[in-house]
C-alpha cells in the first residue's frame, strides 16, 4: 500500500485552512492568534523592558527571548505536563533563531523583548505555527522588523512530497507496515519573505537530496500563502468598520 491520497483529502500542496487575528491579548504590547487546521498558536509580546537576570543583558542591542509551551490538554488527550521541557526549550531556541534575523533591537540596548507562545490545541506543525504567530505579534507590538517571517512544514510520505503535515501523516509508518520502503520525513521551514532566506530548517526522518530540493520548493510556495494570511490579519484590525468602529 502506498500513500495515494492524503488522509484529510487535501491536495499535496494544499495547506490546512488558516485563520489569523491580531490584538487578541489586550494586556500585551502586541499579540496574535494563528490557526492552521487543528493547530492553534497564541503569541503575546511584552517589551522592550528591563532584563532579568541582569547578566543576560547585551549593551549593544536588545535581546529577543521566546517561550514556547503546549497547554496540558492540547494534544490527543494525554495530559502534557505544563512548564518547560527539553523539547519546549529547544523549540523556543529555534524560534528565537528564526526571528532574530529580522528583528532590529539596536535602539534598545540592555533590554529584552519577550515573546510568549501558547498552544491551546496541537496537530503537528506547532513550531511553524508558533513562529508565524510570533512574527505577527512582534509586528503588532510595533517592534522594528526588516520583514515578516512565515513558517510551514513540508515533507514526504511514501513517495509523495506534501505540505503542512498533520500528526497522523507524520506517523504514517505506523499504519503502513506492508510496504517496508515507507519513509516519512517532516521538514519545518521558516522563511524571510522578501529575501527568501531560510531561518529555520529542521528535519525528522530521511529524504533524498533531489526530494529535499523539491520539498523546499514546495515549501516556498506554501509559505507565500501563509504570508498572505499574516498580512491580511495585521491590516484587518485597522479597517474602517471592523470591531465596531
Amino acid at each position: 500500500m502506498v500513500y495515494r491520497e492524503r488522509l484529510d483529502g487535501r491536495k499535496n500542496n494544499e495547506l490546512r485552512p488558516m485563520e489569523a487575528k491580531t490584538k487578541v491579548i489586550p494586556n500585551a504590547q502586541g499579540s496574535a492568534s494563528f490557526k492552521i487546521g487543528r493547530t492553534w498558536a497564541l503569541a503575546a509580546v511584552y517589551g522592550p523592558r528591563e532584563i532579568y537576570p541582569k547578566f543576560l543583558a547585551d549593551p549593544k542591542k536588545g535581546i529577543l527571548r521566546c517561550h514556547y509551551s503546549m497547554m496540558p490538554f492540547s494534544g490527543s488527550g494525554e495530559r502534557i505536563r505544563p512548564g518547560s521541557s527539553r523539547r519546549a526549550q529547544e523549540i523556543a531556541m529555534v524560534m528565537t533563531k528564526a526571528l532574530e534575523p529580522v528583528v532590529d533591537l539596536s535602539q534598545y540596548p540592555n533590554s529584552v523583548v519577550d515573546v510568549f507562545v501558547e498552544l491551546p490545541q496541537t496537530d503537528a506543525g506547532t513550531r511553524c505555527a508558533a513562529i508565524t504567530a510570533a512574527s505577527m505579534a512582534l509586528a503588532d507590538a510595533g517592534i522594528p522588523m526588516k520583514d515578516l517571517v512565515s513558517a510551514v512544514a513540508v515533507g514526504m510520505a511514501d513517495d509523495k512530497i506534501i505540505a503542512d503535515l498533520t500528526y497522523k501523516e507524520e506517523h504514517i509508518n505506523e499504519f503502513n507496515e506492508e510496504s517496508k520502503q515507507a519513509v516519512v520525513s517532516d521538514i519545518p521551514i521558516a522563511m524571510i519573505h522578501h529575501t527568501k532566506e531560510l531561518t529555520l530548517l529542521q528535519m525528522d526522518g530521511e529524504i533524498s537530496k533531489e526530494n529535499l530540493m523539491k520539498a523546499l520548493k514546495l515549501g516556498q510556495e506554501a509559505i507565500e500563502k501563509v504570508h498572505q494570511v499574516q498580512i491580511a490579519a495585521l491590516k484587518e484590525y485597522f479597517k474602517e468598520g471592523s470591531h465596531g468602529n
Binding site: 517589551g47 509586528a139 510595533g142
Partner: protein, 227 residues
C-alpha cells in the same frame, strides 16, 4: 523609473515594498535595499516630497531630550531619585534638578519625593546606552498630587494632544479637568470624579480609534452627549 507603490495613509506591514527606484529617500522606519524601499514597521505611510516614512501605530517609547514625561519614583539614592519612565530604562533625578531649595547633607530625601510618588519631569540627557537624566527645574514640572494616572501607548500621544493641542483642549473644556500628557504615554488627569472618568473614557477611545479619520468629531459627540 522611480515610483511609489503604496498610497498615502495606507497601512503597511514590515517588509512591504513602499517604492522602487532611487529617486525616493527612506525616512523614519524605512530602509532601502538595492533599489527598493521597505517598511520596517506596522504603520501608516507618509510621503512628503521625496521622503517616504512610516508613522507607527504602536510601539515602545524612545526617550528624547526635551520630552516631558510622567514618571514614578522607584528608589531613593545618595544624590537623588531613580524614576521609572514606563520604558525599559529608568531615569536619574538629581537633588539639584529636583528643587531650588538648599538641601542639607543629612536631610531625608523621602520628605521631598517618596517612593511611588509620580512626577512630571523633563528629559535633559540621554546616552547611547539609554541612561536618562531628568530634571524638574522648568515651569510646569512638579510632583503630582491627586487625580489619576492613565496609561496609553506612547505612539498615540500625538493623537491625544491633536493638531495645535486641539484634542486635549476639547477634552479639558468638556470635562473641566486639568490634563497633563507625558510623552511616554502616561497621562495625569485632575478634576471632579465624574470629569475624570469621562476624560479617561475619552482618552481610551482616542487610543483605540487613533487610526481613523474624523476623530475630533467622534470625541466631541461622545463628550457632548454625556453632559
Amino acid at each position: 523609473m522611480s515610483e511609489i507603490l503604496v498610497e498615502e495613509r495606507k497601512i503597511v506591514v514590515p517588509g512591504e515594498v513602499l517604492a522602487s527606484g532611487l529617486d525616493y529617500v527612506p525616512g523614519e522606519n524605512c530602509y532601502r535595499e538595492e533599489h527598493q524601499i521597505f517598511s520596517k514597521l506596522l504603520g501608516i505611510v507618509n510621503v512628503s516630497g521625496r521622503v517616504i516614512k512610516v508613522i507607527p501605530l504602536s510601539g515602545p517609547y524612545l526617550p528624547k531630550v526635551g520630552d516631558k514625561i510622567i514618571g514614578r519614583i522607584m528608589d531613593i539614592t545618595f544624590s537623588g531619585w531613580r524614576v521609572d519612565t514606563n520604558t525599559a530604562y529608568s531615569a536619574m533625578l538629581n537633588v539639584k534638578d529636583a528643587t531650588t531649595r538648599f538641601i542639607k547633607k543629612e536631610e531625608d530625601l523621602s520628605k521631598i519625593l517618596a517612593i511611588d510618588d509620580y512626577v512630571i519631569v523633563g528629559i535633559v540627557n540621554v546616552t547611547s546606552q539609554r541612561l536618562i537624566d531628568v530634571s524638574m527645574r522648568e515651569p510646569g514640572l512638579k510632583k503630582i498630587q491627586g487625580g489619576r494616572i492613565i496609561e496609553i501607548n506612547s505612539q498615540k500621544v500625538p493623537r491625544v494632544i491633536g493638531k495645535k493641542a486641539s484634542m486635549i483642549t476639547l477634552i479639558k473644556e468638556k470635562t473641566g479637568c486639568e490634563i497633563t500628557v507625558g510623552q511616554n504615554g502616561l497621562i495625569w488627569v485632575l478634576g471632579t470624579p465624574e470629569g475624570e472618568v469621562r476624560a479617561e473614557r475619552a482618552i481610551k477611545m482616542i487610543e483605540e480609534k487613533s487610526h481613523l479619520s474624523g476623530l475630533t468629531e467622534k470625541i466631541e459627540s461622545f463628550l457632548g452627549g454625556n453632559q
